[in-house]
């Protein structure tokens, strides 16, 4: 076999106009290459959170995965982690099950056995189902109701339907809705807010917390910080939900409908003026003034400091990181750095960034990790670039890499500040980076 990896420059892509994304960049039009750089795509939870891990965000819950054995295979590693010990159970489907759906009749009894096997009675049982049930058209709500009656605990469905990854409600959006399903209407407290977005906390020192406290919020709740089931249930008293990840939008809309909790949405961005603008809009929506000047100054200083030390820094930006690779690349370009390559998935959402990138750096090359031609990506010659993201690091093993994919989530000014602190630290350790 032999060929070159496909890419298109930002200038060429922007010139092609909307609706003209080349087939090579559209995952539905080609086979999807599996390399370590695509692990996050081909097995969404193989890094960070997938449906299985996310479903266990409810304190005290356990999960029953109902599927052929292959779907639960990589859960072996999770079960070795202390926080998941004794929380995963499996009901394996055989060949007859996947054709007839007879496994559904076993689920209530299986849930009863699972509850009996737990050292402590679980607060809820999550039933995780996979592509097989997506195709069988299983009414999982009904199955869960029967299982709940049989076992005497709440039972909820988690849909690990890889087949619907690009559907209206993708699996990670659906599971975000599921984990808030047990909240019931409570009296609202004006000083309470929930942050929806991640299954791990945002950085402890994020300005988000300071800004929220500055406008009188006393209780800031995130599902990942709920220590027990009662504290999870208290999330129902929030005055509003702050959505920081678009995948939580469905959950937020459901909470608004069921519990009357409205939501405000903000996005993780790395362009400093956009961060500031978001906080302005946030304040306007709540009718308050947000003073973000100190955090903004700190972030500006971090960027300036790095630029002073490494004015000619060139980046290769991947998508396996806590950022939109195109927005982050645009931010780096606007701060005066070079971006040689972006490994990303082009969508309608990020085309706006690509147009701006094309204006500043039309020669920036855009690759898709998923193209079969990436089998031939030449990893040589990356010694002089700083790679951002684990995938970019895979393609340039000799470059300086900042994975930037910690489970603790960065956001806003502090996220930007920390990013440049990490970059400075990594670049400082390496030789040959000017």
């Amino acid at each position: 076999m032999g060929n070159d990896a496909y890419y298109i420059t930002a200038g060429e892509l922007a010139a092609a106009g909307s609706g003209q994304i080349p087939d090579e960049l559209r995952s539905a039009r080609h086979l999807i290459y599996s390399s370590p750089a695509t692990l996050a795509f081909n097995s969404p939870g193989a890094q960070g959170f997938g449906v299985k891990r996310a479903g266990l965000a409810v304190p005290g819950s356990v999960m029953l995965l109902v599927s052929p054995g292959c779907c639960g295979r990589n859960t072996t590693l999770l079960t070795e982690r202390r926080e998941y010990d004794g929380r995963f159970f499996f009901l394996l489907m055989d060949e007859t099950d996947i054709v007839t759906g007879r496994h559904l009749r076993k689920i209530p009894d299986a849930v009863r056995e699972v509850v009996a096997a737990c050292a402590e009675r679980p607060t809820s049982v999550m039933i995780c189902i996979t592509c097989v049930d997506a195709l069988l058209g299983t009414d999982m709500d009904r199955v869960c109701r029967k299982a709940s009656e049989a076992a005497g605990v709440p039972v909820l469905p988690c849909y690990m339907y890889a087949l619907t990854r690009e559907g209206r409600i993708p699996p990670m959006a659906a599971v975000r809705k599921t984990v808030y399903q047990l909240l019931e209407k409570r009296k609202k407290r004006a000083s309470s807010v929930n942050i929806l977005g991640s299954f791990t906390p945002y950085d402890d020192d994020s300005e988000l917390y300071g800004i929220l406290r500055g406008i009188g919020i006393r209780k800031i709740r995130e599902i990942s910080r709920c220590e027990d089931f009662e504290s999870y249930l208290e999330m129902a008293e929030a005055n509003f939900n702050l959505v920081l990840n678009p995948e939580s939008r469905v959950a937020a809309a459901d909470l608004e409908k069921r519990l009357g909790i409205p939501f405000i949405e903000m996005t993780r961005v790395y362009q400093i003026d956009k961060i500031h603008r978001q906080y302005e809009l946030f304040g306007a929506a709540l009718g308050v003034m947000v003073d973000d000047s100190a955090w903004m100054a700190e972030a500006e200083a971090a960027v300036a400091d790095f630029r002073e030390r490494y004015p000619d820094a060139a980046f290769s930006v991947g998508e396996w990181l806590n950022a939109d690779p195109f927005e982050l690349s645009l931010a780096l370009l606007r701060y005066g750095f070079r971006v040689n390559e972006i490994f990303g998935t082009v969508t309608d959402v990020n085309r706006i960034y690509i147009r701006r990138i094309a204006e500043i750096s039309p020669e920036t090359r855009i690759y898709t990790n998923l193209s079969p031609t990436m089998l031939f990506y030449d990893c040589a010659g990356g010694e002089d670039v700083i790679t951002l993201g684990k995938d970019a690091g895979y393609y340039h093993p000799d470059g300086v890499n900042v994975p930037w994919n910690d489970e603790q989530q960065p956001f806003g000014y502090r996220g930007l500040t920390r990013l440049f602190e990490r970059l400075a630290e990594a670049a400082g350790k390496a030789e040959g980076i000017s």
Binding site: S34, A46, T75, T76, F90, L135, P372
Partner: protein, 367 residues
């Protein structure tokens, strides 16, 4: 309840086994899935994935592909990839999605072969089987398609066997618990005159199969292919497992006079039993969760089909020691004897040679 797993987690599935046979052969390996199965194979069941590139692809099926049975679109994607990459052959491997919609893999393979102009093999895995079932079908289809074919050098085809040349079937990471089966086998057998089908030498080694003086079958998954080669080329075969980890061998003298259970893939377990017998330990039972060939079993050997049957067998068997992957010990909390760890990659995802050779897979958190 049958099928309910409370303490363990699922073992390597059939599609992982099939994929492992083709991994090093230079062809396009297409997993007919939505993406998750491919991620499981690569991120968990294929230790070579982090160190050696292979043309392993997901078909990227979506709900409408499955509902409408759009095989033609899959074939077009395959043709496009074959054209761009110039692959010498391709293999389509099944998963639960095509199993549910009843994909006819034989027909799909023929259609794809015609359209792409290269051999297109198929392995109709369902995701409900275990890795050795996938390996078995994969080895057989590989041999049927390429053994003795042209392109294996001047000594392929009908040429006579070469003295000392040994074919090896079943030397996959899943069956041998190492990311480097050919290297480990060469070292263990003291020869590099090996044709490790599917693991080294690419398709050329497979084409040279008739030149092997005999075949060594490392795992039960290789028996059917070995029988095929014996019928077609007259190559004799024998079962053997020369890769028992040194730390396990070192415990043999301590087990003299003890009642021992060995849990592993059948040929590896048998090799341990032979080693123990040599050290004076005669009361040894072999058991496995995987394939068990009756002709290689002794009375009392067992095959477990459920976690519960394993628990009962171990806790009620009166064994002084169990040799097996320590991951299994989770399910036998009532066992009071000695547990001697012998990694089994298809069970726990742990290689036996991590730390010994310095090469092992980088592991990722699961979903």
């Amino acid at each position: 309840m049958r099928g309910l797993i409370r303490y363990l987690s699922p073992f390597a599935p059939d599609q992982s086994g099939a994929s492992g046979v083709f991994y090093d052969l230079g062809g396009l390996i297409v997993i007919c899935d939505a993406g998750g199965c491919t991620g499981n194979i690569c991120g968990f069941d294929e230790p070579r994935w982090f160190s050696r590139r292979s043309g392993i692809m997901s078909a990227g099926l979506r709900d409408m592909d499955a509902i409408l049975g759009r095989d033609d679109q899959l074939v077009e994607k395959l043709k496009s990839a074959v054209t761009r990459l110039g692959a010498p052959f391709a293999v389509l491997i099944g998963t639960p999605v095509p199993a549910v919609i009843g994909t006819d893999f034989r027909a799909l393979g023929k259609m794809a072969g015609k359209r792409c102009g290269i051999p297109v093999l198929t392995v109709s895995c369902k995701g409900t089987g275990l890795y050795d079932e996938g390996e078995e079908e994969a080895y057989l289809s590989l041999m049927e398609a390429f053994a003795g074919g042209s392109g294996g050098g001047d000594d392929a085809g009908d040429a006579a066997p070469l003295k000392g040349l040994v074919g090896v079937i079943g030397a996959t990471p899943l069956s041998t618990d190492t990311a480097m089966p050919p290297e480990r086998l060469s070292s263990a057998l003291g020869t590099d005159r090996l044709l490790c089908y599917g693991a080294a030498g690419g398709l050329s080694a497979v084409r040279r199969a008739p030149r092997a003086e005999k075949n060594l079958v490392i795992s039960p998954s290789g028996i059917r292919a070995a029988e095929y080669l014996r019928e077609r080329f007259g190559t004799p075969y024998e079962a053997a497992y020369p890769l028992v980890p040194r730390p396990v061998i070192e415990t043999y003298p301590e087990l003299r006079g003890k009642r021992v259970l060995v849990v592993h893939q059948q040929f590896a377990a048998n090799a341990v039993r032979e080693g123990l017998a040599g050290a004076g330990c005669e009361d040894v039972t072999c058991a496995t969760f995987f394939m068990m060939k009756e002709e290689y079993a002794k009375p009392g050997d067992a095959r477990f089909s459920t976690e519960e049957s394993f628990t009962r067998f171990v806790e009620g068997g009166g064994f002084d020691a169990v040799i097996g992957d320590r991951f299994l010990s989770r399910a036998v909390r009532g066992f009071r004897g000695r547990w001697i760890h012998m990694p089994e990659f298809a069970v726990s995802g742990e290689c036996a040679d991590v730390g010994e050779t310095g090469e092992g897979p980088e592991r990722k958190s699961g979903t």
